[in-house]
Symmetry: C4
Subunit: 242 residues, 4 copies
């Protein structure tokens, strides 16, 4: 990539939303020092924006970098970047309608990734899970790895596993969610984790009645219209303005 | 509803209590960005007061709206309202003695709503559960829905399911509690959730001795006289005055 | 009791310790709005000191009241007192060596109180549990009650159940611990609850190796000499001086 | 040890790191009032640095003491020291490559120490567990003790049990981790505990797919290069600079 390449300038509100999203994911215990949030560039769909190699809870606007879909940084290449940025680039390639991606190790999701228990919607807040949750076994493509999606090939394999689903569980690693907006993907990450926690508790009590797929789809559509209410609260908590 | 309709003016202490109740429910993890608290109007029993479409943790006196029992806003109708306000209006219609209603998705309650495990009082703090916990299956009335009680008919069906009980578990959704005062309903929401968490743990250890109904009824009567002590603490925590 | 009775004046450091103990129990999630801590009067072993009817997290020196061992307030009798103060008075009567008492509804302890699972020391921090944990069934004495130890007779029955043990689990209610100092009883309340939580988790994993009684006794003796270290931390957290 | 002995002066950055490490372990719930972190002296490998008898969350640079490998304080001997400092000294003797040691009672680790359930890596973050987790039964060497490693002989036995592993579970007590740096040992303590919590949840859901040892080893090598990211976040949280 030429050092003279220039990244197009994203809308200030988008930048603000990426920063807030990073902070929210940390404040809501979806990411710890690890994990990342990206958004497709609003001026150029063949680019995406994500922080440099930094804990999400510490990200500011100055830490954001533009990448092409091969996950090369555009312009300044002097910093360290997330080694797993290929998760993002390869999903944006495979899923043109996806605008935002979260990769995380949310504690409630790990147990579902390392067992055969299917993650299913126990309540309306996580209706989007009704569309199905994909699984990614890195051994199938990578054999014995350090578990990280650190190459375009592994990113491509992950995107293939994800298919047309909203989310993929990564065995022994974490999960990746996609959305049509930053707000949607953050919402999905938070409520996927909450659903996982609730489902584990419910399974302890006996047979669980999950949402039917029609209920789940309708609930998901409704939630998409109510997300602003949650975002407002989360942002105020994460940015310390409440 | 006529735009010239005017809502009667509620006592300032009542307004203050609704605001504090919203904040307490959030601070005690009974509601997150979703859920609501209402109170029957102190000047007109055919009205109730509840926040506009807003996360309970952010509610101030300015956000409170008066509704008639058909859940139409009285006076100003320019804002967005909770789509599930019919829960409140229809319960106030069906239960003249009810003065306050909480609807929530408290995490500890969800597992009991999606399984057949009965929620029963494990200790005196939740003695009110001894009067019985109703269940609401929205499919019975609504078929395949988005799970929300978004019509007068669904609100009516929920009120029918609630019957004369203090609380109803809503499958795949959450729970609704009623009370004779704001303090009582907030207390019930908090201790219903705590009881659920404790009951899940106790069931793990073996056969559980629950309160007998007479014990439960007596404990509930006692708690009603000790609520102020809890409210004082919760308010100081939620309003940041402690 | 004569209104002209005067309570002897306790040492300022004792008063300070009672206040700190109340705050610590709240900060460490052993008590919520309910529960209480008392200490035998340092000037008169036939008296004890405890807060008036108030959430422990809000207690200040001004809220402390002196009681005789029949649990009557000495001097000023104009306030509201804990209805369960007989727990304290009757234990001080039955156990002359006891200097401090905690009554609480710590969440981790409730499940052990309502099942037959024995609470046993899983690690050295809770070695004092090796001396045995008593159980109190209020039905044996009181029949169908509101579960509260609200009379001298019930207090006496509880003290009988406690016997010579450091702690008694109260079915459907909570637990009461005793100690030779405020620091010891606060330590016991905190680590009894922690042990209960750990034991529940351990039981899930298979057969548990508990401390042998000799190990437990030796560990308890050691802990008694290391409590200051914990108290210093807890106090700094609870009083906001850290 | 001669009172005129002088401890060599450690690099200021090392001192700063020991203090930060203590605070991080407390802030991340790995230690409470008990537990300790030590580092081998950077100027003299036959010495190590650790706090005096103090809760880790309260440690400052002024509280650090230099010990020889027999765990005698060098220079000033007027203070109280951790009775279990032999854990550290004896491990430094037995493992010349070890530079830092953590001893803790992290709640998630206790259940694994008192049962036969093997602690194994469920995800890449805890890949270092793939090298194996040792177990220490104090009864084998000490018979009926107070569970504390309070003598050189017990410290030696613990070091023998640890062998060449990164971590040892101590039955009825806690765990001890070793590392090549302070950052590594703190990372290991935190992710050992998190892994334990996740593994307990996963076991509830059915058969668990753990990392293969090759995956675990590769993940561990990768994590060693990403630790700074976590340390930066933890430090900012623990030192209140975030």
């Amino acid at each position: 990539m030429s050092a003279s390449a220039h990244a197009p300038k994203a809308a200030p509100e988008l930048i603000e939303e990426v920063v807030a999203g990073n902070r929210i994911l940390f404040q809501q215990n979806i990411v710890d020092a690890f994990g990342h949030l990206s958004v497709r560039h609003d001026q150029d769909p063949s680019k995406y924006i994500m922080a440099r190699h930094l804990a999400p809870g510490l990200v500011t606007a100055e830490d954001l970098v533009t990448f092409d879909l091969d996950s090369n940084p555009v312009g300044d290449t002097s910093q360290r970047y997330y080694s797993e940025r290929f998760i993002h680039g390869e999903i944006y390639k495979a899923r043109p309608e996806v605008v935002a991606v979260v990769h995380c190790h949310a504690p409630e999701l790990i147990p579902f990734g390392v067992t055969k228990a299917p993650l299913r919607p126990v309540y309306h807040m996580s209706g989007f899970l009704g569309a199905g949750v994909a699984r990614f076994e890195i051994r199938d493509t990578g054999g014995m790895t350090d578990m990280l999606v650190r190459t375009p090939a592994l990113g491509h394999a992950l995107a293939q596993s994800l298919g047309d689903k909203p989310m993929v569980l990564m065995r022994g690693h974490g999960a990746t969610m996609v959305g049509a907006t930053i707000k949607q993907v953050v919402y999905r990450a938070i409520y996927a984790a909450r659903n996982a926690g609730l489902q584990m508790e419910a399974l302890r009590l006996g047979d669980v009645t999950y949402l039917e797929s029609e209920e789940a789809a309708k609930a998901a559509a409704t939630n998409d219209k109510a997300m602003e209410r949650a975002w407002g609260l989360w942002e105020s908590e994460a940015m310390g303005t409440r």
